[in-house]
Symmetry: C2
């Protein structure tokens, strides 16, 4: 049995009420990148590869690999074939290198990430010192850094700001999957230190809505499952958000990580998922929950 | 006896230790406006007037009035003479009106206020919806509004934001004497609502330093006196800041408002003052404190 509300849907088993947010599963950018990847592996005769995984979901990357999409580390030993630019984008130097080598390039960068890259370049050109809110080692941030100046600062949150290195004219872009609380705190901390601050709120709407709805859902259930890649930044942030509201929150990748012992005394379960979690994995989780007696 | 430290000076009487911040008294803009006003009354043969008081200090305005500077409400009945634009600036329409009437105009607008006006105009020209952080009825804010668009919003703090009227591209300027806590909170509240936010931190350095030092001083004394015009926005904010730290804080205008009953059991007094408080009034307060036995 399924009942729906504007932002959530409910399933009932003999033992549980299971509530899932509607905005679960693949976001627009991941959907687009995955579609481009499946098309490329079907249409291109030569080798098709990504530098780093196309999206942060091992199960999907494995399926694509079976279709012929190789994940490589760099272009050093590559002389022909098609480079599929991953959803997180790439440093422009790598794309230049691919073009110089005569490789075909298909750009599967999420359009929202593209915007963040373009804002970073524009801020640099207009003389702003760039502060990127994001995970320093995340490929999306690495890509954005390729468009920004030498004085760029990357911070995970406001506490990482080196205030003594801050100039008077600062621009901010955020990794598209950051939380807006994190962005607000950073901006708030910077305001008294600068004379001019230009903020591009590059957090994508899908992320904002997903975070908000996951938090609301966590408030009304007794246990929360966050489904997604453990290497996925946005999934980990969802986990953190839900855990703050409902301490009984678990991050699971495939359904078989579910431990029936978690559910003792529980009758209402919430399910949310990261932007790179495919529907078939979420469906598997719902099915597994329904089977628990 | 006077002893000095980088940001404060101490006076001793038989009964009290009196600590005053060095950055007290007239700020740069008020000093400049007052100088221009005294020069104008001495040099101009015709009538010299301001629309509204030159600065927010009744004692100084009275002295200037004795020298021949008249305070008027509008230009309707004026056909000749010199308009001295007050330190807070004026709506550009009034200055145009003066020019059209053939009046001489001396601009005593504080250069920092001028900057805020010019940023407001530039934001309007670049298609930003303007949010002004300030007191709606304060002459400085009224002046800045003359340079901004019809969709401008003036808010005293973030709680006054009408979020449903907020557009996606917003620019912020602040009344130069606002607190940066207030500006930070406003910016922080706006970030999740917009896509692009350009903040000009137009709070003047002198204000920032004075607020910071007054707060520090209030922490180390047993009673705090804030000296300045009761109609002065920045003096009232200093009072609020000090009162939060030291509940025994009093706002006084001239020295004779000091009530000796306040000092029972008190041995250490702090003195700060608004940006439009002249030295002779502060000196009077110190003298009065020294005379209390």
């Amino acid at each position: 049995m399924v009942s729906e509300s504007p932002w959530k849907r409910k399933y009932y088993s003999e033992r549980f009420e299971i509530i899932e947010i509607n905005n679960a599963g693949f976001c627009f950018g991941v959907k687009r990148a995955t579609k481009l990847a499946f098309e490329a592996t079907a249409q291109k005769s030569g080798r098709v590869f990504t530098i780093g995984p196309l999206i942060h979901n091992p199960q999907v990357v494995k399926r694509l690999n079976e279709k012929g999409l190789a994940v490589i580390e760099n272009l050093d030993s590559i002389s022909r074939g098609t480079l599929l630019v991953r959803s997180h984008g790439l440093h422009p130097k790598i794309i230049d290198q691919a073009v110089t080598k005569g490789l075909e390039v298909i750009d599967a960068t999420c359009p929202f990430v593209k915007k963040a890259q373009s804002f970073a370049r524009s801020l640099k050109e207009k003389g702003y010192q760039l502060v990127i809110l994001g995970e320093k080692n995340h490929p999306e941030v690495q890509g954005i850094m390729g468009y920004s100046g030498k004085d760029t600062m990357v911070v995970g949150d406001y506490s990482e700001l080196s205030l003594y290195k801050i100039k008077k004219k600062v621009g901010i872009v955020a990794q598209t999957t950051q939380t807006y609380q994190n962005l607000s705190s950073l901006v708030s901390r910077l305001v008294p230190e600068v004379r001019e601050l230009k903020v591009y709120n590059t957090i994508c709407d899908a992320t904002l809505i997903r975070q908000k709805e996951s938090r609301l859902l966590a408030e009304e259930v007794e246990l929360m499952l966050v489904v997604g890649g453990k290497n996925s930044g946005n999934t980990n942030r969802l986990y953190k958000i839900c855990k703050q509201v409902e301490p009984k929150t678990y991050l699971i990748e495939p359904a078989d990580e579910i431990n029936p012992c978690w559910f003792s005394g529980i009758s209402r379960i919430g399910v949310t998922s990261g932007a790179s979690t495919p529907d078939w994995i979420i469906d598997g989780v719902i099915k597994r929950l329904k089977s628990i007696n």
